[in-house]
Amino acid sequence: MKRKIERKDWLLFALIILFALLPAIPGIRENSLTMHVILMIFLMASMSQSWNIVGGYCGQVSFGHSVFFGIGAYGAAMAVVKYGMTPWPGALAGAFLAAGIAVLISWPVFRLSGHYFAIATFAIVEIFNRLFMVWYWVGGAIGLDYSITEQGIVNFVWYQSKVGYYYGALVLLGLVFGVVRWMERHRIGYYLRAVREGQETAEALGVDSTKAKLSAMAVSAFLAALCGAFFAQYNYRVDPPMVMSLDMSMKFVLVTILGGTGTLFGPLVGAAVLVPLQEYSRALLGGLGGGVDLIIFGLLIILVVVKQPKGVVGIFSYLRRRMVERESVGKEND
Protein backbone atom coordinates (compact mmCIF):
# COMPACT_ATOMS: atom_id res chain seq x y z
CA MET A 1 0.00 0.00 0.00
CA LYS A 2 1.50 3.30 -1.05
CA ARG A 3 0.92 6.16 1.31
CA LYS A 4 1.34 9.84 0.83
CA ILE A 5 4.11 11.49 2.77
CA GLU A 6 2.38 13.99 5.00
CA ARG A 7 3.53 17.25 6.50
CA LYS A 8 4.10 15.49 9.82
CA ASP A 9 6.65 13.19 8.22
CA TRP A 10 8.54 16.10 6.73
CA LEU A 11 8.51 17.88 10.06
CA LEU A 12 9.85 14.84 11.88
CA PHE A 13 12.50 14.32 9.24
CA ALA A 14 13.54 17.97 9.29
CA LEU A 15 13.74 18.00 13.08
CA ILE A 16 16.03 15.00 13.14
CA ILE A 17 18.32 16.55 10.51
CA LEU A 18 18.32 19.76 12.52
CA PHE A 19 19.20 17.92 15.73
CA ALA A 20 21.96 16.05 13.93
CA LEU A 21 23.51 19.34 12.84
CA LEU A 22 23.13 21.01 16.22
CA PRO A 23 26.51 19.99 17.70
CA ALA A 24 28.21 21.63 14.73
CA ILE A 25 27.21 25.04 16.07
CA PRO A 26 30.18 26.38 18.00
CA GLY A 27 29.58 26.64 21.73
CA ILE A 28 27.11 23.80 21.94
CA ARG A 29 29.46 20.87 21.56
CA GLU A 30 31.89 22.30 24.13
CA ASN A 31 29.27 23.02 26.80
CA SER A 32 28.65 19.71 28.44
CA LEU A 33 25.59 20.95 30.37
CA THR A 34 23.90 22.02 27.14
CA MET A 35 24.75 18.71 25.52
CA HIS A 36 23.46 16.89 28.58
CA VAL A 37 20.18 18.80 28.56
CA ILE A 38 19.59 18.22 24.85
CA LEU A 39 20.36 14.55 24.97
CA MET A 40 18.18 14.15 28.04
CA ILE A 41 15.40 15.77 26.04
CA PHE A 42 15.92 13.12 23.36
CA LEU A 43 15.92 10.35 25.93
CA MET A 44 12.86 11.66 27.78
CA ALA A 45 11.02 12.20 24.50
CA SER A 46 11.78 8.63 23.44
CA MET A 47 10.71 7.24 26.81
CA SER A 48 7.46 9.16 26.81
CA GLN A 49 6.81 8.32 23.18
CA SER A 50 7.12 4.64 24.03
CA TRP A 51 4.60 5.21 26.84
CA ASN A 52 2.42 7.20 24.47
CA ILE A 53 1.70 4.07 22.41
CA VAL A 54 -0.13 2.50 25.33
CA GLY A 55 -1.07 5.53 27.40
CA GLY A 56 -1.86 7.99 24.65
CA TYR A 57 -2.98 6.20 21.50
CA CYS A 58 -4.54 3.26 23.32
CA GLY A 59 -5.72 5.17 26.41
CA GLN A 60 -4.41 2.70 29.01
CA VAL A 61 -2.70 4.86 31.59
CA SER A 62 0.11 2.70 32.86
CA PHE A 63 2.34 3.70 35.73
CA GLY A 64 4.41 0.59 35.25
CA HIS A 65 6.77 1.60 32.50
CA SER A 66 9.75 2.01 34.79
CA VAL A 67 9.69 -1.79 35.11
CA PHE A 68 10.39 -2.20 31.38
CA PHE A 69 12.83 0.69 31.43
CA GLY A 70 14.59 -0.99 34.33
CA ILE A 71 14.72 -4.38 32.64
CA GLY A 72 16.41 -2.79 29.64
CA ALA A 73 18.86 -0.95 31.88
CA TYR A 74 19.66 -4.13 33.76
CA GLY A 75 20.02 -6.04 30.51
CA ALA A 76 22.76 -3.74 29.28
CA ALA A 77 24.42 -3.49 32.67
CA MET A 78 24.40 -7.25 33.27
CA ALA A 79 26.02 -7.87 29.89
CA VAL A 80 28.75 -5.35 30.64
CA VAL A 81 29.35 -5.86 34.35
CA LYS A 82 28.64 -9.56 34.89
CA TYR A 83 29.61 -11.04 31.55
CA GLY A 84 32.19 -8.57 30.28
CA MET A 85 30.42 -8.29 26.94
CA THR A 86 29.41 -5.25 24.96
CA PRO A 87 26.04 -3.83 26.03
CA TRP A 88 24.36 -4.60 22.69
CA PRO A 89 23.27 -8.21 23.25
CA GLY A 90 22.19 -7.30 26.78
CA ALA A 91 20.11 -4.37 25.59
CA LEU A 92 18.45 -6.50 22.94
CA ALA A 93 17.81 -9.38 25.33
CA GLY A 94 16.45 -6.89 27.88
CA ALA A 95 14.13 -5.41 25.29
CA PHE A 96 12.71 -8.80 24.27
CA LEU A 97 12.41 -9.84 27.90
CA ALA A 98 10.62 -6.60 28.73
CA ALA A 99 8.20 -7.14 25.86
CA GLY A 100 7.54 -10.70 27.04
CA ILE A 101 7.03 -9.67 30.64
CA ALA A 102 4.82 -6.80 29.53
CA VAL A 103 2.52 -9.19 27.69
CA LEU A 104 2.46 -11.66 30.59
CA ILE A 105 1.63 -8.98 33.15
CA SER A 106 -0.75 -7.01 31.00
CA TRP A 107 -2.89 -9.93 30.03
CA PRO A 108 -4.65 -10.06 33.40
CA VAL A 109 -4.17 -6.39 34.32
CA PHE A 110 -5.89 -5.07 31.19
CA ARG A 111 -9.13 -6.44 32.57
CA LEU A 112 -9.06 -3.69 35.17
CA SER A 113 -10.19 -0.22 34.33
CA GLY A 114 -9.64 3.33 35.54
CA HIS A 115 -8.02 3.75 38.92
CA TYR A 116 -7.94 0.01 39.48
CA PHE A 117 -5.66 -0.35 36.47
CA ALA A 118 -3.45 2.54 37.62
CA ILE A 119 -3.05 1.13 41.12
CA ALA A 120 -2.32 -2.35 39.80
CA THR A 121 0.54 -0.88 37.78
CA PHE A 122 1.81 0.91 40.92
CA ALA A 123 1.78 -2.42 42.72
CA ILE A 124 3.73 -4.07 39.91
CA VAL A 125 6.44 -1.41 40.06
CA GLU A 126 6.73 -1.88 43.80
CA ILE A 127 6.98 -5.64 43.48
CA PHE A 128 9.75 -5.40 40.89
CA ASN A 129 11.56 -2.70 42.82
CA ARG A 130 11.59 -4.74 46.01
CA LEU A 131 12.57 -7.96 44.29
CA PHE A 132 15.49 -6.30 42.49
CA MET A 133 16.56 -4.76 45.81
CA VAL A 134 17.22 -8.18 47.29
CA TRP A 135 18.22 -10.08 44.16
CA TYR A 136 21.96 -10.44 44.63
CA TRP A 137 22.60 -11.86 41.15
CA VAL A 138 21.73 -8.45 39.71
CA GLY A 139 23.57 -6.50 42.38
CA GLY A 140 20.78 -6.06 44.94
CA ALA A 141 20.35 -2.65 46.49
CA ILE A 142 23.93 -1.66 45.63
CA GLY A 143 23.29 -2.04 41.94
CA LEU A 144 25.80 -2.61 39.19
CA ASP A 145 28.76 -0.32 38.59
CA TYR A 146 30.58 -0.21 35.27
CA SER A 147 34.30 -0.68 35.24
CA ILE A 148 36.23 1.43 32.78
CA THR A 149 36.31 -0.02 29.29
CA GLU A 150 37.56 1.31 26.02
CA GLN A 151 35.32 4.09 24.82
CA GLY A 152 33.54 4.05 21.51
CA ILE A 153 30.48 2.74 19.79
CA VAL A 154 31.35 -0.93 20.45
CA ASN A 155 31.14 -0.56 24.22
CA PHE A 156 28.77 2.38 23.90
CA VAL A 157 30.63 4.43 26.49
CA TRP A 158 32.35 7.75 26.15
CA TYR A 159 34.21 9.58 28.87
CA GLN A 160 35.57 12.88 27.58
CA SER A 161 32.76 14.16 25.47
CA LYS A 162 29.02 13.69 25.21
CA VAL A 163 28.91 13.71 21.41
CA GLY A 164 28.70 9.93 21.20
CA TYR A 165 25.80 9.81 23.62
CA TYR A 166 24.19 12.69 21.81
CA TYR A 167 24.01 10.82 18.53
CA GLY A 168 23.07 7.63 20.33
CA ALA A 169 20.10 9.40 21.89
CA LEU A 170 19.21 10.92 18.54
CA VAL A 171 19.17 7.50 16.86
CA LEU A 172 16.96 6.25 19.68
CA LEU A 173 14.66 9.21 19.17
CA GLY A 174 14.48 8.57 15.43
CA LEU A 175 13.75 4.89 15.99
CA VAL A 176 11.01 5.39 18.57
CA PHE A 177 9.32 8.24 16.74
CA GLY A 178 9.60 6.35 13.47
CA VAL A 179 7.91 3.30 14.94
CA VAL A 180 5.12 5.38 16.43
CA ARG A 181 4.62 7.29 13.20
CA TRP A 182 4.45 3.99 11.35
CA MET A 183 1.87 2.70 13.83
CA GLU A 184 -0.08 5.91 13.62
CA ARG A 185 -0.57 5.44 9.88
CA HIS A 186 -1.18 1.73 9.78
CA ARG A 187 -4.06 -0.44 10.79
CA ILE A 188 -2.76 -1.09 14.31
CA GLY A 189 -2.76 2.63 15.07
CA TYR A 190 -6.40 2.93 14.08
CA TYR A 191 -7.22 -0.13 16.16
CA LEU A 192 -5.55 1.41 19.20
CA ARG A 193 -7.38 4.69 18.85
CA ALA A 194 -10.63 2.85 18.32
CA VAL A 195 -10.07 0.92 21.56
CA ARG A 196 -9.30 4.15 23.39
CA GLU A 197 -12.48 5.82 22.17
CA GLY A 198 -14.69 2.92 23.10
CA GLN A 199 -13.67 -0.64 23.61
CA GLU A 200 -17.14 -2.13 23.14
CA THR A 201 -17.74 -0.20 19.94
CA ALA A 202 -14.35 -1.20 18.59
CA GLU A 203 -15.03 -4.83 19.36
CA ALA A 204 -18.42 -4.62 17.72
CA LEU A 205 -16.65 -3.46 14.57
CA GLY A 206 -14.40 -6.47 14.66
CA VAL A 207 -11.31 -5.10 16.42
CA ASP A 208 -9.70 -7.70 18.65
CA SER A 209 -9.14 -5.28 21.52
CA THR A 210 -7.09 -7.66 23.67
CA LYS A 211 -4.73 -8.37 20.80
CA ALA A 212 -4.44 -4.68 19.95
CA LYS A 213 -3.71 -3.69 23.53
CA LEU A 214 -1.24 -6.48 24.09
CA SER A 215 0.71 -5.76 20.92
CA ALA A 216 0.80 -2.06 21.82
CA MET A 217 2.13 -3.01 25.24
CA ALA A 218 4.79 -5.29 23.77
CA VAL A 219 6.09 -2.65 21.35
CA SER A 220 5.92 -0.01 24.06
CA ALA A 221 7.85 -2.13 26.56
CA PHE A 222 10.44 -3.07 23.95
CA LEU A 223 11.16 0.58 23.17
CA ALA A 224 11.10 1.61 26.83
CA ALA A 225 13.68 -1.08 27.56
CA LEU A 226 15.97 0.26 24.83
CA CYS A 227 15.73 3.69 26.47
CA GLY A 228 16.63 2.04 29.77
CA ALA A 229 19.70 0.43 28.24
CA PHE A 230 20.81 3.83 26.98
CA PHE A 231 20.25 5.31 30.43
CA ALA A 232 22.43 2.69 32.09
CA GLN A 233 25.20 3.29 29.55
CA TYR A 234 24.97 7.01 30.08
CA ASN A 235 25.19 6.80 33.87
CA TYR A 236 27.74 3.94 33.98
CA ARG A 237 25.63 2.32 36.66
CA VAL A 238 22.19 1.02 37.53
CA ASP A 239 20.34 0.36 40.78
CA PRO A 240 16.68 -0.32 41.55
CA PRO A 241 15.51 3.12 42.81
CA MET A 242 17.24 4.80 39.88
CA VAL A 243 15.40 2.91 37.15
CA MET A 244 12.51 1.00 38.69
CA SER A 245 10.60 3.40 40.85
CA LEU A 246 7.30 5.20 40.89
CA ASP A 247 9.13 8.48 40.36
CA MET A 248 10.63 7.14 37.16
CA SER A 249 7.26 5.78 36.03
CA MET A 250 5.72 9.15 36.71
CA LYS A 251 8.18 10.82 34.37
CA PHE A 252 6.96 8.74 31.43
CA VAL A 253 3.43 9.89 32.11
CA LEU A 254 4.14 13.48 33.05
CA VAL A 255 6.19 14.35 30.01
CA THR A 256 3.58 12.93 27.67
CA ILE A 257 0.66 14.57 29.46
CA LEU A 258 2.50 17.87 29.52
CA GLY A 259 3.26 17.69 25.83
CA GLY A 260 -0.04 16.21 24.73
CA THR A 261 -1.17 12.59 24.87
CA GLY A 262 -1.91 10.63 21.76
CA THR A 263 -0.07 13.06 19.51
CA LEU A 264 3.15 12.37 17.63
CA PHE A 265 5.00 15.48 18.76
CA GLY A 266 3.53 15.70 22.25
CA PRO A 267 6.30 13.72 23.95
CA LEU A 268 9.02 15.76 22.25
CA VAL A 269 7.39 19.04 23.20
CA GLY A 270 6.79 17.84 26.75
CA ALA A 271 10.40 16.75 27.12
CA ALA A 272 11.63 20.01 25.62
CA VAL A 273 9.74 21.89 28.33
CA LEU A 274 10.18 19.61 31.31
CA VAL A 275 13.79 18.47 30.96
CA PRO A 276 15.35 21.95 30.83
CA LEU A 277 13.16 23.01 33.76
CA GLN A 278 14.35 20.05 35.75
CA GLU A 279 18.01 20.15 34.72
CA TYR A 280 18.48 23.90 35.00
CA SER A 281 16.61 24.19 38.26
CA ARG A 282 18.87 21.44 39.54
CA ALA A 283 21.96 23.18 38.20
CA LEU A 284 20.92 26.58 39.54
CA LEU A 285 19.06 25.73 42.73
CA GLY A 286 20.31 22.26 43.58
CA GLY A 287 23.23 23.85 45.41
CA LEU A 288 20.85 25.44 47.90
CA GLY A 289 20.35 21.97 49.30
CA GLY A 290 17.26 20.23 50.59
CA GLY A 291 15.51 19.81 47.28
CA VAL A 292 14.67 23.42 46.44
CA ASP A 293 14.75 22.47 42.77
CA LEU A 294 12.17 19.75 43.39
CA ILE A 295 9.94 22.16 45.33
CA ILE A 296 9.82 24.40 42.26
CA PHE A 297 9.44 21.43 39.95
CA GLY A 298 6.51 20.10 41.99
CA LEU A 299 4.78 23.47 41.83
CA LEU A 300 5.33 23.64 38.08
CA ILE A 301 3.77 20.22 37.61
CA ILE A 302 0.69 21.34 39.53
CA LEU A 303 0.50 24.52 37.53
CA VAL A 304 0.83 22.77 34.19
CA VAL A 305 -1.74 20.09 34.97
CA VAL A 306 -4.21 22.58 36.38
CA LYS A 307 -3.81 25.18 33.69
CA GLN A 308 -3.17 23.18 30.56
CA PRO A 309 -4.78 19.74 30.66
CA LYS A 310 -4.33 19.12 26.94
CA GLY A 311 -0.61 19.77 27.03
CA VAL A 312 1.49 22.20 25.09
CA VAL A 313 0.45 20.61 21.79
CA GLY A 314 -3.11 21.42 22.84
CA ILE A 315 -2.20 25.11 22.98
CA PHE A 316 -0.78 24.93 19.47
CA SER A 317 -3.78 23.22 17.96
CA TYR A 318 -6.06 25.63 19.80
CA LEU A 319 -4.18 28.57 18.30
CA ARG A 320 -4.28 27.02 14.86
CA ARG A 321 -8.00 26.42 15.15
CA ARG A 322 -8.50 30.01 16.20
CA MET A 323 -6.52 31.21 13.20
CA VAL A 324 -8.47 29.01 10.80
CA GLU A 325 -11.71 30.26 12.33
CA ARG A 326 -10.61 33.83 12.00
CA GLU A 327 -9.64 33.30 8.38
CA SER A 328 -12.98 31.78 7.53
CA VAL A 329 -14.79 34.55 9.40
CA GLY A 330 -12.71 37.05 7.42
CA LYS A 331 -13.71 35.39 4.15
CA GLU A 332 -17.37 35.52 5.06
CA ASN A 333 -17.07 39.21 5.74
CA ASP A 334 -15.48 39.85 2.37
Partner: protein, 286 residues
Protein backbone atom coordinates in the same frame (compact mmCIF):
# COMPACT_ATOMS: atom_id res chain seq x y z
CA UNK B 1 1.75 -20.56 69.35
CA UNK B 2 2.76 -17.43 71.23
CA UNK B 3 4.79 -16.31 68.25
CA UNK B 4 1.75 -16.84 66.05
CA UNK B 5 -0.48 -14.80 68.35
CA UNK B 6 2.13 -12.07 68.60
CA UNK B 7 2.40 -11.83 64.83
CA UNK B 8 -1.40 -11.76 64.63
CA UNK B 9 -1.59 -8.92 67.15
CA UNK B 10 1.09 -6.91 65.36
CA UNK B 11 -0.68 -7.39 62.07
CA UNK B 12 -4.01 -6.20 63.43
CA UNK B 13 -2.49 -3.21 65.21
CA UNK B 14 -0.69 -2.07 62.04
CA UNK B 15 -3.73 -2.89 59.93
CA UNK B 16 -5.97 -0.56 61.92
CA UNK B 17 -3.60 2.36 61.40
CA UNK B 18 -3.49 1.60 57.68
CA UNK B 19 -7.26 1.46 57.75
CA UNK B 20 -7.56 5.00 59.08
CA UNK B 21 -5.13 6.34 56.48
CA UNK B 22 -7.03 4.44 53.79
CA UNK B 23 -10.41 5.68 55.04
CA UNK B 24 -9.36 9.22 54.26
CA UNK B 25 -8.34 8.19 50.77
CA UNK B 26 -11.46 6.09 50.33
CA UNK B 27 -13.75 9.03 51.15
CA UNK B 28 -12.06 11.20 48.55
CA UNK B 29 -11.95 8.45 45.97
CA UNK B 30 -15.54 7.39 46.57
CA UNK B 31 -17.06 10.84 46.42
CA UNK B 32 -14.92 12.56 43.82
CA UNK B 33 -13.33 9.67 41.91
CA UNK B 34 -9.93 11.23 42.54
CA UNK B 35 -6.78 9.42 43.66
CA UNK B 36 -4.91 11.74 45.93
CA UNK B 37 -1.29 10.86 45.27
CA UNK B 38 -0.17 13.22 48.05
CA UNK B 39 -2.09 11.22 50.65
CA UNK B 40 1.05 9.67 52.10
CA UNK B 41 2.62 13.09 52.28
CA UNK B 42 -0.37 14.33 54.22
CA UNK B 43 0.54 11.69 56.78
CA UNK B 44 4.11 12.91 56.80
CA UNK B 45 3.00 16.51 57.34
CA UNK B 46 0.71 15.40 60.16
CA UNK B 47 3.54 13.49 61.79
CA UNK B 48 5.81 16.52 61.60
CA UNK B 49 3.06 18.70 63.06
CA UNK B 50 2.63 16.39 65.99
CA UNK B 51 6.37 15.92 66.35
CA UNK B 52 7.14 19.63 66.51
CA UNK B 53 4.30 20.32 68.90
CA UNK B 54 5.79 17.63 71.09
CA UNK B 55 9.40 18.75 70.70
CA UNK B 56 8.85 22.50 71.06
CA UNK B 57 5.80 22.80 73.31
CA UNK B 58 6.10 19.51 75.13
CA UNK B 59 2.56 18.43 74.24
CA UNK B 60 2.15 14.70 73.93
CA UNK B 61 0.87 13.02 70.73
CA UNK B 62 -2.13 11.74 72.72
CA UNK B 63 -3.32 15.36 72.62
CA UNK B 64 -1.63 16.86 69.59
CA UNK B 65 -3.52 14.62 67.16
CA UNK B 66 -6.34 17.14 67.57
CA UNK B 67 -4.14 19.87 66.17
CA UNK B 68 -2.74 17.76 63.33
CA UNK B 69 -6.24 16.53 62.47
CA UNK B 70 -7.45 20.12 62.23
CA UNK B 71 -4.35 21.24 60.35
CA UNK B 72 -4.72 18.50 57.78
CA UNK B 73 -8.39 19.39 57.36
CA UNK B 74 -7.13 22.79 56.31
CA UNK B 75 -4.50 21.34 53.99
CA UNK B 76 -7.06 19.01 52.42
CA UNK B 77 -9.51 21.85 51.92
CA UNK B 78 -6.77 24.01 50.42
CA UNK B 79 -5.74 21.19 48.09
CA UNK B 80 -9.29 21.08 46.85
CA UNK B 81 -9.63 24.85 46.51
CA UNK B 82 -6.32 25.41 44.77
CA UNK B 83 -5.83 22.25 42.73
CA UNK B 84 -8.51 19.59 42.60
CA UNK B 85 -11.33 22.00 41.82
CA UNK B 86 -9.77 22.63 38.43
CA UNK B 87 -9.41 18.98 37.56
CA UNK B 88 -12.97 17.84 38.33
CA UNK B 89 -14.66 16.60 35.19
CA UNK B 90 -11.39 16.13 33.34
CA UNK B 91 -9.62 12.86 32.64
CA UNK B 92 -9.15 10.84 35.79
CA UNK B 93 -5.38 11.04 35.77
CA UNK B 94 -5.09 14.81 35.73
CA UNK B 95 -5.94 14.97 39.42
CA UNK B 96 -3.51 12.15 40.09
CA UNK B 97 -0.69 13.95 38.31
CA UNK B 98 -1.47 17.27 39.96
CA UNK B 99 -1.37 15.61 43.37
CA UNK B 100 1.88 13.92 42.35
CA UNK B 101 3.25 17.45 41.94
CA UNK B 102 1.83 18.31 45.34
CA UNK B 103 3.46 15.24 46.83
CA UNK B 104 6.81 16.30 45.41
CA UNK B 105 6.26 19.80 46.76
CA UNK B 106 5.30 18.76 50.29
CA UNK B 107 8.06 16.17 50.55
CA UNK B 108 10.78 18.57 49.49
CA UNK B 109 9.49 21.46 51.57
CA UNK B 110 9.77 19.22 54.62
CA UNK B 111 13.16 18.02 53.44
CA UNK B 112 14.30 21.61 53.09
CA UNK B 113 12.91 22.75 56.43
CA UNK B 114 13.58 19.74 58.60
CA UNK B 115 16.48 17.87 56.90
CA UNK B 116 16.27 14.18 56.01
CA UNK B 117 17.02 13.10 59.59
CA UNK B 118 14.82 10.59 61.33
CA UNK B 119 13.15 12.21 64.31
CA UNK B 120 11.41 10.44 67.18
CA UNK B 121 9.81 11.98 70.25
CA UNK B 122 11.74 10.66 73.19
CA UNK B 123 9.63 11.23 76.30
CA UNK B 124 6.01 10.50 75.49
CA UNK B 125 3.32 9.43 77.89
CA UNK B 126 2.83 6.11 76.13
CA UNK B 127 6.34 5.55 74.84
CA UNK B 128 7.95 2.22 75.65
CA UNK B 129 5.09 0.90 77.82
CA UNK B 130 3.75 -2.57 77.15
CA UNK B 131 0.93 -4.76 78.39
CA UNK B 132 1.51 -8.49 78.55
CA UNK B 133 -1.22 -11.10 78.58
CA UNK B 134 -0.39 -14.78 78.36
CA UNK B 135 2.98 -14.15 76.79
CA UNK B 136 1.63 -11.89 74.06
CA UNK B 137 2.98 -8.36 74.26
CA UNK B 138 0.80 -5.37 73.42
CA UNK B 139 2.92 -2.26 72.94
CA UNK B 140 0.82 0.55 74.45
CA UNK B 141 1.54 3.29 71.85
CA UNK B 142 0.54 0.97 69.00
CA UNK B 143 -2.49 -0.25 70.91
CA UNK B 144 -3.76 3.24 71.68
CA UNK B 145 -3.15 4.39 68.11
CA UNK B 146 -4.90 1.37 66.65
CA UNK B 147 -7.92 1.68 68.93
CA UNK B 148 -8.21 5.41 68.28
CA UNK B 149 -8.02 4.65 64.58
CA UNK B 150 -10.88 2.19 64.93
CA UNK B 151 -12.98 4.75 66.85
CA UNK B 152 -12.40 7.41 64.21
CA UNK B 153 -13.27 5.00 61.38
CA UNK B 154 -16.50 4.02 63.11
CA UNK B 155 -17.36 7.69 63.65
CA UNK B 156 -16.68 8.56 60.01
CA UNK B 157 -18.75 5.59 58.86
CA UNK B 158 -21.58 6.60 61.16
CA UNK B 159 -21.37 10.16 59.91
CA UNK B 160 -21.58 9.09 56.27
CA UNK B 161 -24.42 6.62 56.83
CA UNK B 162 -26.61 8.27 59.46
CA UNK B 163 -26.32 12.04 59.41
CA UNK B 164 -27.86 14.52 56.99
CA UNK B 165 -24.39 15.65 55.99
CA UNK B 166 -23.47 12.05 55.27
CA UNK B 167 -26.54 11.63 53.09
CA UNK B 168 -25.58 14.75 51.21
CA UNK B 169 -22.11 13.28 50.70
CA UNK B 170 -23.57 10.01 49.45
CA UNK B 171 -25.96 11.83 47.15
CA UNK B 172 -23.11 13.85 45.68
CA UNK B 173 -21.09 10.70 45.17
CA UNK B 174 -23.95 8.98 43.36
CA UNK B 175 -25.01 11.77 41.04
CA UNK B 176 -23.61 15.25 41.25
CA UNK B 177 -26.24 16.92 39.07
CA UNK B 178 -29.16 15.28 40.79
CA UNK B 179 -27.69 16.24 44.16
CA UNK B 180 -27.45 19.84 43.02
CA UNK B 181 -31.09 19.76 41.93
CA UNK B 182 -31.98 18.64 45.45
CA UNK B 183 -30.34 21.79 46.76
CA UNK B 184 -27.04 20.30 47.87
CA UNK B 185 -24.08 22.60 47.51
CA UNK B 186 -21.81 20.00 45.93
CA UNK B 187 -18.88 22.38 45.81
CA UNK B 188 -19.05 22.62 49.60
CA UNK B 189 -19.43 18.86 49.93
CA UNK B 190 -16.30 18.30 47.85
CA UNK B 191 -14.39 20.78 49.97
CA UNK B 192 -15.60 19.11 53.11
CA UNK B 193 -14.82 15.62 51.89
CA UNK B 194 -11.30 16.58 50.96
CA UNK B 195 -10.91 18.20 54.36
CA UNK B 196 -12.30 15.14 56.12
CA UNK B 197 -10.03 12.86 54.13
CA UNK B 198 -7.14 15.02 55.29
CA UNK B 199 -8.40 14.89 58.87
CA UNK B 200 -8.46 11.08 58.92
CA UNK B 201 -4.86 10.85 57.84
CA UNK B 202 -4.07 13.85 60.06
CA UNK B 203 -5.32 12.05 63.15
CA UNK B 204 -3.38 8.91 62.24
CA UNK B 205 -0.25 10.97 61.61
CA UNK B 206 -0.78 12.87 64.84
CA UNK B 207 -0.72 9.71 66.91
CA UNK B 208 2.11 7.92 65.13
CA UNK B 209 5.12 9.93 66.40
CA UNK B 210 4.85 8.26 69.80
CA UNK B 211 6.34 5.15 68.25
CA UNK B 212 7.35 5.88 64.66
CA UNK B 213 10.19 8.16 63.58
CA UNK B 214 9.35 11.04 61.24
CA UNK B 215 11.29 11.76 58.05
CA UNK B 216 10.33 13.27 54.69
CA UNK B 217 9.89 9.87 53.00
CA UNK B 218 7.81 8.29 55.75
CA UNK B 219 4.54 8.80 53.90
CA UNK B 220 5.50 6.97 50.73
CA UNK B 221 4.85 3.45 51.97
CA UNK B 222 1.70 4.45 53.85
CA UNK B 223 0.41 6.18 50.76
CA UNK B 224 1.06 3.17 48.54
CA UNK B 225 -0.52 0.81 51.03
CA UNK B 226 -3.52 3.13 51.24
CA UNK B 227 -3.98 3.01 47.44
CA UNK B 228 -3.80 -0.75 47.48
CA UNK B 229 -6.15 -1.04 50.44
CA UNK B 230 -8.77 1.26 48.97
CA UNK B 231 -8.66 -0.47 45.59
CA UNK B 232 -8.77 -3.86 47.26
CA UNK B 233 -11.67 -2.87 49.50
CA UNK B 234 -13.63 -1.44 46.61
CA UNK B 235 -14.68 1.93 45.34
CA UNK B 236 -15.25 4.23 48.30
CA UNK B 237 -16.37 1.52 50.69
CA UNK B 238 -15.27 2.21 54.27
CA UNK B 239 -15.98 -1.31 55.60
CA UNK B 240 -14.14 -2.60 52.55
CA UNK B 241 -11.15 -0.42 53.39
CA UNK B 242 -11.19 -1.62 56.99
CA UNK B 243 -11.34 -5.25 55.96
CA UNK B 244 -8.66 -4.85 53.29
CA UNK B 245 -6.42 -2.94 55.69
CA UNK B 246 -6.60 -5.74 58.23
CA UNK B 247 -5.75 -8.21 55.49
CA UNK B 248 -2.81 -6.09 54.43
CA UNK B 249 -1.61 -5.74 58.01
CA UNK B 250 -1.85 -9.49 58.58
CA UNK B 251 -0.18 -10.45 55.31
CA UNK B 252 2.57 -7.97 56.04
CA UNK B 253 3.30 -9.29 59.52
CA UNK B 254 2.89 -12.99 58.69
CA UNK B 255 4.97 -12.95 55.54
CA UNK B 256 7.55 -10.81 57.32
CA UNK B 257 7.78 -13.34 60.13
CA UNK B 258 7.38 -16.65 58.32
CA UNK B 259 8.99 -15.90 54.94
CA UNK B 260 11.43 -13.01 55.19
CA UNK B 261 11.10 -9.34 56.15
CA UNK B 262 12.30 -8.21 52.71
CA UNK B 263 9.40 -9.99 51.04
CA UNK B 264 6.58 -8.63 53.17
CA UNK B 265 5.56 -5.84 50.81
CA UNK B 266 6.05 -8.04 47.78
CA UNK B 267 3.50 -10.33 49.42
CA UNK B 268 1.15 -7.42 50.11
CA UNK B 269 1.24 -6.10 46.56
CA UNK B 270 0.96 -9.60 45.11
CA UNK B 271 -2.11 -10.16 47.30
CA UNK B 272 -3.63 -7.02 45.88
CA UNK B 273 -3.05 -8.16 42.31
CA UNK B 274 -4.52 -11.54 43.14
CA UNK B 275 -7.63 -10.02 44.69
CA UNK B 276 -8.35 -7.67 41.81
CA UNK B 277 -7.82 -10.47 39.31
CA UNK B 278 -10.71 -12.30 40.94
CA UNK B 279 -12.76 -9.24 41.78
CA UNK B 280 -11.75 -6.40 39.42
CA UNK B 281 -13.70 -3.82 41.43
CA UNK B 282 -12.36 -4.85 44.80
CA UNK B 283 -13.83 -7.01 47.56
CA UNK B 284 -16.73 -4.75 48.49
CA UNK B 285 -17.00 -2.91 45.19
CA UNK B 286 -19.73 -3.24 42.65
Amino acid sequence: MIAFLQVLVNGILNGLVYALVATGLSLIWGVMDVINFAHGDYLMVAMYTSFWIGALLGVDPVLSWIVSGAFLFLIGALTYKLIIRYTVGRSAISALLATFGLSMFLKNVCLYLFSPNFRLLSKTVLGGKTIETGGVIFPVPQLVTALSALVVIVLVYYMVKKTRLGWAIQATAMDKEAAELMGIDTERIYLLVFGLGGSCVGIAGGLLPSYLAVHPEVGLLFGLLAFVIVAMGGFGSIPGALFAALMVGLVESFSGFFIAPVFKYVAVFALYLLVVMVRPKGLFGW
